[in-house]
Amino acid sequence: MSAPPASSRKEVLRAFYAKVVEPLGFTFTPDTELVEFLLEQEVVLEGKHGVPFCPCQPLRGDREKDMKIVCPCIPFHRAHFDEMKRCWCGLFVHPGVTDPDSLPQLPPPVTTP
């Protein structure tokens, strides 16, 4: 039978994200608890704003800037995330990362606006 709406939306996001991040050289973190938590937060954010914004980056109320923090935001922060081997929230990591907790959240390079 069909799943409740919120959780089915989570599965839709999960399926789209998997297809988007793989060609970019990322995959879901092996920390499954974190994956579930973040996807649930994104469903909440989508419910509130109509858009699955990043749970860990600020909305500024400027469409051009805010659309660069829609998940997966990897295309817009690639150098920074590649350097960390993870995205800012840690939802995605480079394949082969088995110990995501060892990857620090580094501040963005000064060139990032």
Binding site: V44, P58, P107
Partner: protein, 81 residues
Amino acid sequence: MKKPIHIYGLSTCPWCRKTKALFTKSGAPFDYVDYDLADEPTQAKIMAELDAAGANGFPFVKVGADIVIGYQPERFAQLLA
């Protein structure tokens, strides 16, 4: 004298919760604000501080004059020492 500690986060951000838990455990007094739940003037003030520090993500931690961007438990421990 103890340095004042201010932490900015988002209610949706797991690393902000971990940061808050870590500082709570340390016993040091601090204040914590969720940017997404704050009123507009507070949001503007927080955003100005993030921009000045070149940050675009949370958590954002200030210990005295030191700023830490992101969940960095080792840096927090150093600053709390």
